[in-house]
Symmetry: C2
Subunit: 684 residues, 2 copies
Amino acid sequence: MAYIKRIIIVALLMLNQATVLKAEDGHALWLRNHSAIKVNISSTVRSATVDLAIAELRNGWLGKENMTIKLNLTKNPSIKRDGFQLEETAINARTELGLLYGTYELLRRQYLNLPQRNVISNPSYSRRILNHWDNLDGSIERGYAGSSIFWGNTANGLNITNQDREKWKAYARANASIGINGAVLNNVNASAKILSPAYLEKVKAIAESLRPYGIKTYLSVNFSSPVLIGKLKKADPLDPLVKQWWKDKAAEIYKLIPDFGGFLVKANSEGQPGPQDYGRTHVDGANMLADALAPFNGIVMWRAFVYNPSPEDRTKQAYKEFLPLDGAFKKNVILQVKNGPLDFQPREPFSPLFGAMSDTPVMPEFQITQEYLGASRQLVFLSTLWEECLNSDTYKNGKGSTVAACTDGSLSKTDFTAIAGVANIGNDVNWTGHTFAQANWYAFGRLAWNNKLESKTIAEEWLKQTFLDDKEKKTDANFIKTIQEIMLDSREAAVDYMMPLGLHHIFAEGHHYGPAPWFSNDKIRPDWTSVYYHKADTAGIGFDRTRSGSDAVDQYHEPLSSTFNSLSSCPEIYLLWFHHVPWSYRLKNGRDLWTELCIRYDHGVQQVRSFQKNWDKIKGSIDSERFAEVQSKLRTQSRDAQIWKDACLLYFQQFSRREIPFEIERPVHDLQSLKELTKSRDYE
Amino acid sequence: MAYIKRIIIVALLMLNQATVLKAEDGHALWLRNHSAIKVNISSTVRSATVDLAIAELRNGWLGKENMTIKLNLTKNPSIKRDGFQLEETAINARTELGLLYGTYELLRRQYLNLPQRNVISNPSYSRRILNHWDNLDGSIERGYAGSSIFWGNTANGLNITNQDREKWKAYARANASIGINGAVLNNVNASAKILSPAYLEKVKAIAESLRPYGIKTYLSVNFSSPVLIGKLKKADPLDPLVKQWWKDKAAEIYKLIPDFGGFLVKANSEGQPGPQDYGRTHVDGANMLADALAPFNGIVMWRAFVYNPSPEDRTKQAYKEFLPLDGAFKKNVILQVKNGPLDFQPREPFSPLFGAMSDTPVMPEFQITQEYLGASRQLVFLSTLWEECLNSDTYKNGKGSTVAACTDGSLSKTDFTAIAGVANIGNDVNWTGHTFAQANWYAFGRLAWNNKLESKTIAEEWLKQTFLDDKEKKTDANFIKTIQEIMLDSREAAVDYMMPLGLHHIFAEGHHYGPAPWFSNDKIRPDWTSVYYHKADTAGIGFDRTRSGSDAVDQYHEPLSSTFNSLSSCPEIYLLWFHHVPWSYRLKNGRDLWTELCIRYDHGVQQVRSFQKNWDKIKGSIDSERFAEVQSKLRTQSRDAQIWKDACLLYFQQFSRREIPFEIERPVHDLQSLKELTKSRDYE
């Protein structure tokens, strides 16, 4: 009997272990454990970073058994910055961090069965930075994956546990594996408290966890900090006391964090304080901070996201504000510019600032967190959106002056280049809420490293690493092909069910999740309402930004400005962005505008339904946990796409006064009930 | 200036009148005003009822101008009961009420452009009765169109206003126009108070309003009334004091209402008191009341809807209870039997009691109010359901012994026949909540008058009278054809998206609106749960009522009992009613049961979407008010059909363990959220 009992206990233990091993909670991201093969490693240099590279090689080696791989520091001029060279038996780099990056690339290639011989890879941007919009109380602005991993997790928000350090280490490792080398730890709508000694102590601790992985720490600063936490009466950037306060603060920071990266500043934007409060310019403000940081090689990332409650078209304002300041900034100042001239919409043309500045470095700001793209409920792979922006031709120096070339130093021959992504990371077990939101984090890192990568490659890499875990499954071509297609189609589907044909910013107030094309409020500035942007009336729909309208088209170089200006040559994906178009206007496919709008919205809904179907078809190819999670979220997305379609078509129909074409499905909601429903983000 | 001012005022007045004339609130039902042609009427008899006939002819005549039409009382033996004969220039009838019925039929035929020469029409049933489940506080059990038109509208519920009398008159007129001649004014779950002097005074007033239209008044009585409002200690039907109490009460009623119709009784059913409380039988109870009413020619309608918390299959219990009592009832007692053996489900086989009783009259009880068929939110035309029941062959006296024949006197050669419909009428302006619910009231009346009418005829009649109002529109064949098709398909669609293939009673608890196939509760009797009825398990689904199961099949005459008993011969519409069927069972179309179930549910959803599309296509054919109302309700129905499909497929999938076939759309809800959602009837 005792014998049998023992067998049962052993069996139960095994069962339990099997369950634990199989549970896929998404916490491992694209770095899931797999059984490694024995490898010998020799290195001419040792450091915390190189030790990490060695450990990763030991844990993840899938090459020849008992092979010896060398880690070499080299001065090979083909290798730039923290780039690296992979050889059959060696990783070569100029820096220790380059060795770590080379390690991750080598292991990725082994896992994906890609060749590794003579691969040289250099980063497109020097600084590849995540912006965390984390508040010091632990909440995250536009965060959909739980509370902050940095702040507020304990009563005073400053106590540090081993669990914190483990999380920060895992976070740093994930970032390093895709080449991210910087993190702004707090919200751009910054609390001045971040610069107080107590908080700086915590920043120091975080920086220590991130440092071995090559992640530099940055902070968002409140321009009024000298008043708010100092003892000064004002924060005027030309005031000597203010200058000194910032110099002292910089010294204090660098004493704690010698490799501190610098400041990110949102000034005179959406109510944040700034130099204009004292009659000074953005240049005055940025340069004052730059002077304080320069002795320590720190930088200032000054956000160009500014607009005033003026009658001027909001999308024109950043350009008008900053173009006159070109060349006046200190050498360690870089302008941080959102991909589009408005605000992270499902689709915008690129910001004209990318092609405008000649003597001021400009860095793109992408939004990884899905503020306007379905939060963590909807599967929307953003890589294609960023790819579209990076590949957009500004014509700054004639054809081929892409946004990528304007920002990665190709055109300006500078090495002071950077790119930022607003993080989608929180305390959720799987970091990002939606499993597929991990792909957006991954894609941002990969594009920041190599801005010529194609989204389809990124999707395939991510899918294989994230879902497939043995030789057999790695070759599950059907799974990869099916889900890669969903990912690549997902952003266009979202554009279709939310805002096709160049529509923009018709979101519900506040939560920015559902539709509210009807949103209008006399008590707030017009450019915070939806009707400001779509301008629907019985004649037509769209924002006239042509030369007869707001003339935003002329912020672009020729031939773009004329192309956008003319209704017939304007790309139809930007039609209602640049034109107020009659409902009866014939599109290139022969349909009138109203019919096309209806068909686009419906197509978006049908696309999500097809995603559902294709997802269901791959059941069994992956673990049941993440299968069920994504299946459930696609159901939500399907309902929400329907809500978008119904809300927009029923609302706009009041102006078009035309029938919804009978080839598409009818709305299943009433306009009035949708107005109620979408007030809260929690539809269900 | 004064002249212009006057013109403006006149114009505004005309505009206002036009608006009033055009506003279609549905209150006029199928009796909408239209401009009449002058007619002369001669009548050999005058009475309140004949005066109504004359007024209707004057207001609605569409025949030759200045023609003379005669109203004649006749003894023509081809005319039965309150039937009538239409001639070119006369309406002939045996009774004054027959003249009124002939008038409505004549006007209907003129309106519908049907021939009127030598039409003879006799009612299928002597008593054509609405059962109002109205409580004395004004609420209505299973009512979805506002509060009671009889009770509770004022503080004490007994005050009577002119508005009340106008409403009762309009109600009586609508009923008379379709041949209804009786109304039970209060809920079968009856308050004893209805028999108190104060309430009887109000019943008298209502009866006075209904009488000219030939509507007899009936009341539901509580079997314990002698205890509850008398001074007796018990209500034992064999107790002389109890007998006397009822005799006295009957005399009191008839003194107030000389043409009072009689009592409807729900006894020993779902907690109501009854003779079994004293060890007596249904016969003892019914006969005691029958004796009290007999001197005044009153009748007792004794409901057969009884079942006990016993292990016996609930659907078998009424038959088992009443068959042994056949022939023992007094001559003025009639058994009121619901169409199916369970409870007004979207589809049931007919109740075996219709074919069982030889010496006891039986009357069908249909439910007009949509307790289990979408309340007043869903467009479900019930005429096809009732037609299916009436045409079902019981084989009582061999082939051709339809439910209609078993109940309308064709088989038994009795004139004591009746039919009841549970009303869907309330204080809503349009009487029934949903405009198309008016069609169910209409169809019940028409079928009660002529149980051989086809639903397609009834739908066409109703549509033309309800929506089309001039010569041009009366010939709008496209509108009629399109919407008639929706109506005729609507019940089958509801069966598909709610309970296809013989599934039954998987509704949410209480409100009976949405799905809850998961509903189970140890604290209540099993036959009030859903799992009792579907019995889904990993082997299959359905209630085994074959000879190896509950043997309910043997309550039917041969060949039905054997047909139902065999899986291969059982009609597939009743499959899961009679059989527990393996998931892999092949249906006649070659599909396995699980696949067919999925496809049926999805088909129901697609059907509602097609109703939406077809409804939208007839925009402009009818008034905008009712167009918008129905459009909005079809949207709700579409969402709710989807909820039904998703809930049932996701729930049953847990047992079938099979994939939802990929040819249908995926669910867009999660099971867990649906369980929460459907707890309340108010999804939105």
